[in-house]
Amino acid sequence: MIMQEAINKYVHDGDCIALGGFVTNRKPYAAACEIIRQGKKDLYVQSGAAGGDVDMMIGAGLVKVLFVSYLANSGFTQVGRRFRNAVEQGKILFEDYSLDVHCVLFHAAALGLPFIAVKNMLGSSLIDKWGIPAEVYKSDPKLPPFKLKVDTNPFNPDEQVCYLPVPKIDTAIIHVQKAAPDGTCRIDGSLYGDMDISMAATNCIVTCEELVSPQMLRAEPWRNQLPNIAVDAVVHAPYGAHPSQCANCYDYDGVYLRKYDKASKDDQLFKEFIDEWIYGVEDHNEYVDKLGVAYLNGLHVTPGFGFKPGLKRS
């Protein structure tokens, strides 16, 4: 499937979406850019450990509600600047979790559990300060009836635990190294919560560095993370995680990330940045052509190290 079709078919105004990867690693940037290009509105974003992908979507005004546990391009931007701006200016609704809890929420959704109870967040403001007002929780059918509830463990009345509702994700988008047209996926490097959001979501879009034959992946099925039946669309998008890292393929693009750091400080500079890099290119192919072959070659990881030693990072 081509990117435009996949996003058009599986991401709608008002949907709840989740993006894979972690901060500056294997983030599905190509898909995020296409969502921005198509101008999807009023999105509910379950972001987990988000990076520039979600920061750009916030900056472009697509996000209505953000469920967040971390948002940064760590090492380049310590706090996502469009996120920060939107929160400080009261432009979006947001709700905080700890990253651990966000991870286990995605996992519980993948397991199809009715709810989950944990000990994390007890004794912290994550319990009693709610970003989404109680009345919004009650009235918005896309949201659970409330953020959480502290109560006792039914098997140990002396123990307090935190009961959490399980998120309902419409569409998950992840970027992987290898996928077959049938949907079978193989991920190298860290998985993060990618399997969880893919299994939890009603629809799952996979973008991949390499589109490979099913036979290749099925010869060693124990190395595949997602089977055909878990995936709804496979999009071939080489460098689809740029400017973030993609294990065994490329390192992050520190120069680009610093450029984004500067641009995202300011409304006007941000607008110019996305005008140039998102709206100004027709699709992901034009984007990578704009970067150029030699430039992208310079990001390739050095086999054996798993990253690019000596990479220019500032």
């Binding site: 990867g21 972690f22 901060v23 500056t24 690693n25 450990a49 967040v68 546990s69 971390y70 948002l71 940064a72 760590s74 090492g75 380049f76 310590q78 706090v79 996502g80 996120f83 920060r84 929160v87 400080e88 009261g90 905080d96 700890s98 990253l99 651990d100 991870c103 286990v104 996992h107 000990k119 994390n120 967040m121 007890l122 004794g123 912290s124 403001s125 994550l126 300060k129 970003g131 502290v150 123990e159 307090q160 635990v161 935190c162 490097g189 860290s190 998985l191 993060y192 919560g193 399997m195 969880d196 890292q245 294990a247 390192d251 992050y252 990881v301 798993g306 990253f307 030693p309 000596g310």
Partner: protein
């Protein structure tokens, strides 16, 4: 021999790491400090990261806990939920010795804020969010690394992202459902603070060479016992050499 306070801070933290221990490490100074320990006083320290990377051996300073640099020579790259489980069980199974935390604000009982300054819903300053900090604070003994400023060392934090010793009462944590672990030490660019065994309140344990106790008191926004404070040993030439020439030769962090 010269050194900066930030380098002294890294060395002071490295000295806290016992050999053979297992540490949950965040990026930045904690990684520099634990790498230093691994290269000097604790060659068998095991580094864990909230991304599920277990026992990695980074040799160029990573910019985040998801940086590919962390995965070099790792024992396994666990999916996120396995890290969650390992951390949740580590306390019962005694599998993690220490975790690192930082923050924008800290109170006298080690409660930390890394979420927002001002009103939570409409803050003056918003930070990146908890990340893995809250989970580490829930389940692990911790070393906290902070900038030492009066507005950061404050009577009451605006938002408790990572609970410390709560209000200092002996059952402060357990009555909230939290395991009885917590902050062990706070290291800043000025010195080392610990928590009183009985009151759980922060006290000054060490001040770095060249720093006065008065300067620390002036930069602390709550009353802190300084009666037990001694001057830290200055960094050894060897340790400083490893820090500057092996751990962070590009001087990205120190």
């Amino acid at each position: 021999m010269e050194w900066t306070n930030r380098q002294m801070m890294a060395i002071a933290v490295a000295r806290q790491i016992k050999d053979g221990t297992t540490c949950i490490v965040g990026t930045g100074l904690p990684l520099v400090a634990t790498s230093l320990a691994k290269n000097y006083n604790a060659p068998n320290v095991i580094l864990l990261f909230e991304t599920g990377v277990i026992d990695g051996s980074p040799f160029e300073v990573p910019t985040s806990v998801s940086d590919l640099r962390i995965t070099y020579n790792a024992s396994a790259l666990w999916p996120q939920h396995c890290y969650f489980g390992f951390q949740s069980n580590s306390w019962k199974k005694n599998k993690v010795d220490i975790g690192f935390l930082g923050g924008a604000q800290i109170d006298a009982y080690g409660n930390l804020n890394s979420t927002a300054i001002g009103d939570y819903s409409r803050p003056n300053t918003r930070f990146s969010g908890s990340g893995g900090a809250n989970g580490i604070a829930t389940y692990c003994n911790t070393i906290i690394m902070m900038k030492h400023q009066k507005r950061r060392f404050c009577e009451k934090v605006d938002y408790v992202t990572s609970p410390g010793w709560i209000d200092g009462t002996p059952d402060g944590r357990t009555k909230l459902g939290l395991p009885d672990v917590g902050p062990q030490v706070v290291v800043t660019e000025l010195g080392i603070m610990r928590f009183d065994e009985k009151t759980r309140r922060m006290y000054l344990a060490e001040y770095f060479p060249g720093v006065t106790v008065e300067h620390i008191v002036e930069n602390t926004g709550f009353a802190m016992d300084v009666s037990r404070a001694v001057e830290s040993e200055p960094p050894s030439e060897e340790m400083l050499d490893i820090l500057l020439n092996k751990v962070d030769p590009q001087r990205i962090m120190v």
